[in-house]
């Protein structure tokens, strides 16, 4: 124990040496300080409330890793669409056709919650719950006024609604700590998972959010999409932890910067498919 403590002090000294500017400066309310931490559960969960700012599964290893997504059973159409996709991971930036990597296109729902949800705020309004996402600066509305999900999205008739990147969502509380969200109407240009797994516009995604305690929240996600999959499957489980100062940094995909990156680094580096199967979902980080 004493050895571990001494090692910890030594390591802390090393770390501070790596971040001299932070150690010297007085704290500003505008700056994000990674050494500010919370510990423990913070007490019991408040009832029917996800409000606050949360560190997401893509932020640090301090966030517990949840269950990975199941491997889907694809329909022939699903297989055909997937075969045309060249995902990041198996291909470098030069070889991928992932629209978010090449063009900064929005990840959309649910990928923005599966792959890059590093942090987010949740705000409860009288008739909806709003998710404010760090990555990309997107927001998502979940209606809680009792309305039903739309049944016509993306069709040719005049009553049909437009598909959207975040879809159409309705939510309800089951007991006081479980918030269940149903979503449909998802833009088919978005990829369901990082490996290029597709979804159709009328896919039905269900999230079961649980406020475990004051400082911990988790969500389990499933999808049912008969057009692309032969049966429903799990998109994984994801944990969130309370951010003590409720400050998160801006994290955007800027098209002009992405273009510069691709021209000066990504494309010259080339693409060498490594063909390694990725762990999909459940948290874990990119950069």
């Amino acid at each position: 124990m004493a050895v571990a403590l001494a090692a910890g002090v030594f390591a802390s000294t090393l770390l501070i040496a790596q971040a001299p500017s932070q150690a010297r400066q007085a704290k500003s309310p505008w700056v994000y300080y990674p050494l500010d931490t919370i510990e423990g559960d913070g007490g019991p969960a408040p009832k029917r409330d996800l409000s606050g700012t949360w560190a997401g599964p893509g932020s640090t290893d301090a966030i517990p890793r949840g269950a990975a997504a199941e491997r889907p059973s694809l329909t022939p159409l699903g297989q055909q669409v997937l075969s045309q996709r060249k995902p990041i991971g198996r291909f470098g930036p030069a070889g991928t056709n992932d629209p978010s990597a090449r063009f900064c296109d929005p990840l959309g729902f649910p990928l923005n919650f599966i792959y890059q949800n590093r942090a987010m705020s949740v705000s409860t309004m009288p008739n909806r719950v709003v998710f404010l996402l760090q990555f990309g600066g997107f927001w998502r509305e979940v209606w809680t006024d009792g309305r039903a999900l739309p049944t016509k999205v993306g069709g040719d008739d005049r009553e049909s609604l437009d598909p959207t990147y975040m879809g159409y969502s309705v939510g309800r509380w089951e007991v006081d700590y479980n918030f269940v969200i149903d979503t449909t109407g998802l833009d088919e240009r978005t990829w369901l998972l990082r490996d290029g797994t597709p979804h159709s516009v009328m896919a039905h995604v269900q999230e079961r959010w649980t406020r475990v305690d004051h400082n911990t929240m988790k969500v389990a996600m499933t999808i049912d999409d008969p057009k692309m999959f032969t049966k429903p499957f799990s998109l994984g489980t994801y944990f969130y932890r309370w951010v003590p100062n409720q400050k998160i940094n801006e994290w955007l995909c800027v098209p002009s910067e992405t273009l510069k990156y691709l021209q000066e680094q990504g494309d010259p580096a080339g693409s060498y498919p490594d063909a390694q199967q990725q762990r999909l979902g459940g948290g874990g980080r990119g950069r």
Partner: protein, 157 residues
Amino acid sequence: MRSSSASAAVGVEDEGMTMRLRVRAFVPMIAVVLALSTPIAAHHGDAAYADKPMEMKGCVVTEFDWMNPHSLIKFDYKTATGEVQKWTMEIGSPPSMTLLGWSRTTLRAGDVITAYVYQAKSGVKVGRTNKVILADGTVLADRDDSTPSRYGAEPPK
């Protein structure tokens, strides 16, 4: 391989199973050691780059682009034969690098650094880095695992 920690624990019900979330003290020793070894897979994977880094001393920074999705460090490198080569290497995004002690003003044109570069397999003079040593000896790592434990809990075993 994660930081060891002695700590309190809270039980979290997860699909009927009790998952123990260890709430750890800030002990990033192993993480710091790892920070000085290999780079973590970038958001786009590392398949395009060499497996081993080159140590490049006396690099003169010509441009530092603090940007998404990956910041770029451009520098001149003089070879043993006196040839001056122009290199570009990437690090992480500004929000992730901020956690590791980097900032927009960490590097300026004219700074002399030692870079550890994983060159692109294509043979062009671009690469990734996992470590930069500034002229004053400051070591700046590019690895998320050296991010300190901000949120308390450790991944369940």
